[in-house]
Amino acid sequence: MSNRRSSRQSGGGVSRISDDQIIELVSKLGQLLPEIRNSRSDKVSASKVLQETCNYVRSLHKEVDDLSDRLSQVLATIDADSAEAAIIRSLLK
């Protein structure tokens, strides 16, 4: 399997990274990603998970950027009043 990293390669370093640890973490990561969670086949390669992770992080960054854009237009002044009104509303949801 492509995601099996033999521990002898990381030997000589300070920590021994076991295959199981990596497999578990990679599968947890796969659970988070919408792409992989929806089309869940039994074997998802680590490479695919990493690729989807990078894409997802990038898209989240972009979304934060876009939302900042929208908010900068909507919040005419960053003052306490309008922000607080909006907070109360969003917290009530």
Binding site: R5, K28, C54, S68, L71, S72, A83, A86, R89
Partner: protein, 192 residues
């Protein structure tokens, strides 16, 4: 030593959201005190900056990416007061001294420098590559390098750390996006 047991990961989503929101608004208010007439671009930068710091500070220094993000942000001199405002709100514990933001920033830098040195040492030892499956490993390593460039402070992390940090980072990013989105739609409704 199981690394995953060291980091508190089980945080109820809603409390994380509220904490982020609280800190973010605090940061935004701090921005408005300093500059009265902001251009849209400046406003956007302030919003994004406050959001990032709030998101990182909601982690209370428990993750590497959050410390790295704050440490990087502390380098920009003009916005340091925003960082201090947001970070200062979490020093409710008696053990924390007043100089928390700057001290943490310098501690962060020390940790980062130390990890950098260790990382370089490790990299020199790992120069063996003759197994036939090394092509597959090389591909995964490429993707890992890309991921490292996306996570703040990623270039200093080993594999396990990188994936754990990514998990936390993605969760936090989602919270950030959720809160920003609901604030955006609430503000639109408020102005109608």
């Amino acid at each position: 030593m199981p690394l995953s047991s060291l980091k508190p990961k089980m945080r109820p989503h809603s409390s994380l959201k509220q904490e982020f929101l609280k800190k973010w608004i605090m940061g935004l208010q701090r921005c408005s005190f300093s500059k009265k007439n902001m251009s849209i671009l400046e406003r956007k930068k302030a919003i994004k900056f406050s959001a990032d710091i709030a998101m990182a500070s909601a982690r209370n220094g428990t993750t590497c990416w959050s410390r790295s993000l704050i440490s990087n942000a502390s380098k920009e001199g003009s916005d340091i007061h925003v960082v201090e405002q947001i970070l200062g709100s979490e020093s409710d514990r008696p053990a924390v001294e007043n100089k928390v933001p700057t001290r943490r920033a310098s501690v962060c830098k020390k940790i980062v420098k130390r990890s950098c040195r260790i990382r370089r040492r490790r990299r020199r030892r790992k120069c063996v590559a003759s197994a036939p499956s090394s092509i597959a490993k090389h591909l995964v390593r490429k993707r890992r390098e890309v991921l490292k460039s996306l996570i703040p402070g990623g270039e200093f992390m080993n594999e396990i750390c990188l994936i754990e940090e990514t998990l936390d980072y993605i969760t936090s990013l989602r919270v950030q996006v959720d809160v920003m989105r609901s604030l955006a739609s609430a503000s639109v409704r408020a102005s109608e």
